[in-house]
Symmetry: D3
Subunit: 252 residues, 6 copies
């Protein structure tokens, strides 16, 4: 099985973190291909950057999805998730979506931890867009710098881990979270290290997405031929990459 | 990997249907153990029978879950699902829950088809208990007899299939369902036969539950040590089977 | 009028508390019959025990409801409430349900106080299952031992009362509760003692259930002949008490 | 026990219908006092008339509530219900509120039938204001004239009854209502005549309100001393009746 | 353009504050007419007073709306808003409604600040009656006296301003409000003075209502001829002012 | 006042329709600038095309918003609305958002009519993303071709108008819509022609957006300095237009 991991932002270190997290949960023999955005935001930290990154996600899947069995969006806002599902014939899973769906089998309510004070509302909106708002115990945001999140020197990493742990504990103690989802590709990679110190399951969205994508490949569900997720077929776009133009233009 | 399939009602033919559906979706090498209730309702067709069957589910998992890697509830009301999660240290998945969670990755709204006019509200309540009511396009109920559902002579099976197909199409056309979940162990087994004739994915809860259970085994999420799903530990019960008494009584 | 009070757990002291609370609110001349579970959990403190107790409730009403005018479930999770409504021809009222319905006439939002940290989510789920979640101001849980709740020596009772009062005040001050429902048969019996010290109405579920059951007897509403609450009629169950087998098996 | 029945519109025939319905459900020995508005709308058939009738309700309770044990609002929009609860020291119950609360013990979802095409949204809003919208199966409106509703000659009454029955059946068959609430004082009085011909309980709001008011009198819940329903105390109003001025002005 | 500003309570200082706030946001050349209630509550501080004030609002618009282009309700509970919309042929806007609708274009969630501890639930109910509850970040209430709110001597005004500012900041910091609506005619007039010291937009309901009313006048939307907001036409009322009797009585 | 009208798709005829609709509702003296996407989808008819168009909207506002007083998104999915609000210092209004907000002042529930069977769910999601789902009476979709919608020869236009009218009437009669929002830039331009034949207000999103944008300019609300809508400031993007790179990169 070949899985495509898509990171639409331009930071290779994030792609690396996604790939490492995916590898630790993929079934033996799974081939993993991780790709990084070619244009758009360096890091997604606002709705504006997320809006821009939607083009980036489409551009990446147009080029790299052919030949893969499933796609995992390695971006915690699940950017362009349903758009990809319209365009592609293979399962597509978002990392936050997957964390919520898998988490729903171990916890009645899930806390979501992310970085960046202004990001809290965006994750609330994302969870509500999945109609899963009632399963959300709460959202907690940290204020770490991008440098702290990705590529901190080893001596600084422990402080970052402690901050993440403290945030997760807040969700458990203040909000009654029965599991905690680490939203953010970099943060998700800390799950294994922190799990022993937290009394509830820590959900790593990448790992959940890989496991769920593999499950969906096994289910062999066909595509809908009607409805809002069915193939669009034969749509005209201009001024974008040839691969994306072709993907939009192919017949349904 | 060894999966326990639990059918709390007393009808062996339903257990057989669950086992067959599970086998068609389980990963190669998976060992499947399917067990049938020892007391309780012949068929679950009301809240009263479902209430009674909760004891039956607990009784079965107390006896058969040891040594298994995960449990799949092969009863479409997901009877005693969260109760099992409190008592057992392995993943437990309900077939309707799994159908909804897997279906959420291919459809924005899911239709649910079941048998028995009085059962519609029960499935609505079940879906709402998962806080997934907004993802439910609608519920359609058929009025087939138990004999038609399980063990119809071959010449009568086609009429049953047509009735199920008509119900599924109603969900697509009237309610805008983008996938249809066949709720009911017997009905779920018709998914493969009917899929080619329906324009949206047909979700077989057993298959989804097997796939999801396997994904969860791979994720190796620990149990919560706090909260409503954490092990109860050391609880006293009387007048039930020794295995169930022991399961309640073991320390957390 | 003859009311059946059902306590499905095995603790006689809880039955006694329910009976005492019922007596203080029943109309003059009401005959009260209080029964205790014959098998199942000593105390209900988890979903697993509540699942098991559903059988116990059905077993008790099958044996004792004949000849009564209404049933009050003296268990604060309202165990098997709608199942009983399917099986019986007389009004059935749950104590938490009744507390919420009566409370809705004196408070826009109600706080719910119960014992046991892990029980909070179960009561939230219960209230939401009644679609009354918006009327819930909040849930507060105490961490008293069963021994403290039932049968504490007199010198220890005052500390328990103070803890309950503090919890109720938290609901008023932190959550804006305009009434407080004491969930738990033992706790409900403290309402009269604490009311003078709380600035909002204290709802004793047993008292509310008795009052509401009597009101329903007076209304003489017929049973539905269609829909999910109508009599099931002629259902086969095995391996349970003769009375319960007969109750399931009688014609609609 | 003495109950005040308040009809804020100016139509004595409606008051008479409310009184008759109340009498058929009141406990033996209950004294019933029914009063009619002194100013305001002849009939309430719009939000504007309902807005005006709020003054009328307050005016009536200011004059007539003293000496009573509880108040029943005999107006199906439950006009000024919570306002009365702020002002009065005795239980106040609205007829539609009571129909919903009592109905919630016999039906998972309730249909509401009323007269006047433009009234449907008002009842939806009312039910939602009680946060009971999820229990509402649907709303059906008839288009009978006021003359048909109240005071039709005997030969015309049967046609009215048939129209009401047809509306109720629509709620059962189309919307899955498990009980039907007749909203409207005149319509409520038809419940006894129509019940034998409907397969689900018919809820007469006046009867439910009388039963619930009596239950609340028995519960002896104190008034809140804090919060939005607590006595306002010492409020200045001008240009209204002396009784109402006094009611607003009395100390808390 | 001529706008009618309606203050149904009897406090001229509130009318003056509404008029001043309106003037600062009205387009050049707008004629503003501000009227004060002739009977009813001195100040609206409870549901009972708000119920009474509905008559007052209707009385004022019956007399003063003729010849105006739009009506702004200068009362922060938007008293009788939809009733006015049924009766009048010109746009009617409530100040809290307008604050929420305009605020929805600058903030994902809005905090609401008002005065009077018991008023919090009333504003929650009002926002929910608009189905905008999900946009409400939270409600904060102050406990200033009417004297402090209106007509405080200059040396005391600063303390009032500081209290309002502190309340607004609580909504931002505790509840994540991205804008703050000052609910209450007197409080709204403090928006300009406080805005520089708050990091999110301060919404003055009167200003928003004036701007929105002017926008609606420009849109020239016709009245509905069917549905719950269409003209009632030819309704009989008694015992109220001739102007109001005529307004109810005119043909649709 | 200078308003920017943004059409991110590549069809000039749509831009022309938006401009015409805007002109008919803009205040005298308003300068209108209408711009068309430079890359992306010819027409937006799926989530995939809408995802791509987000880049297009950002690109257009980066180039054209400087010097304008407000932006109106002339695309009925309100593409990149909140992203623009983060990036720009002037009011930004979406046409469907504006139709809903203005419509909320004349109708309790609004029907939404659009073209393309697969588009219904997208508009539902959009309305729910504004937390206005409860105000939505229903969604109706037509199946007209793009050629019919834009640029039909005159003899064919009448058939299109009749189809739109029939769809609008369905929303009124089937769903109880009290106003109908024409979603789609081309469809919106038909509002004036159809209004006389529909018994409820027809909402043209462009006209509403222009009116609302002008109201917001008059309100002079400051930008938030904290929260998810505050300026991002100093963000790095690559591979996009210089204007957009500069817009992201400017300091907060």
């Amino acid at each position: 099985m070949k899985l495509l991991l898509v990171n639409p932002n331009l930071t290779q270190a994030v792609t690396d973190a996604v790939l490492a997290a995916a590898r630790s949960r993929a079934a033996p023999g799974t081939e993993l291909v991780a790709v990084t955005g070619r244009f758009g935001p360096a890091v997604i930290g606002s709705r504006a950057e997320n809006a821009l990154a939607q083009h980036g996600v489409l551009d990446l899947v147009a080029q790299h999805a052919p030949g893969c069995d499933a796609v995992v969006l390695g971006v915690s806002l699940d950017t362009a998730l349903w758009a990809c599902r319209e365009l592609l014939d293979i399962p597509v899973v978002g990392m936050t979506e997957a964390g919520l769906l898998c988490g729903a089998t171990v916890a009645t309510r899930i806390g979501l931890l992310t970085n960046g004070a202004r990001m809290g509302p965006l994750y609330r909106e994302l969870v509500q867009s999945y109609d899963l708002g009632e399963r959300l115990a709460g959202v907690e945001t940290l204020t770490l710098t991008p440098q702290q999140m990705v590529g901190a020197p080893q001596e600084a990493q422990q402080a970052v881990l402690e901050a993440v742990l403290a945030g997760a504990r807040t969700l458990v103690e203040r909000d009654g979270a029965e599991a905690v989802l680490l939203a953010g590709a970099a943060m998700a990679s800390m799950a294994d290290a922190l799990q022993p110190r937290l009394p509830v399951p820590l959900l790593d969205g990448v790992g959940c997405a890989v496991a769920l994508a593999q499950a969906l490949v096994g289910l062999r569900l066909p595509r809908a031929r009607v409805g809002s997720v069915s193939p669009t077929g034969g749509r005209a776009v201009q001024g974008v990459s040839p691969a994306l133009t072709a993907l939009f233009g192919r017949s349904a």
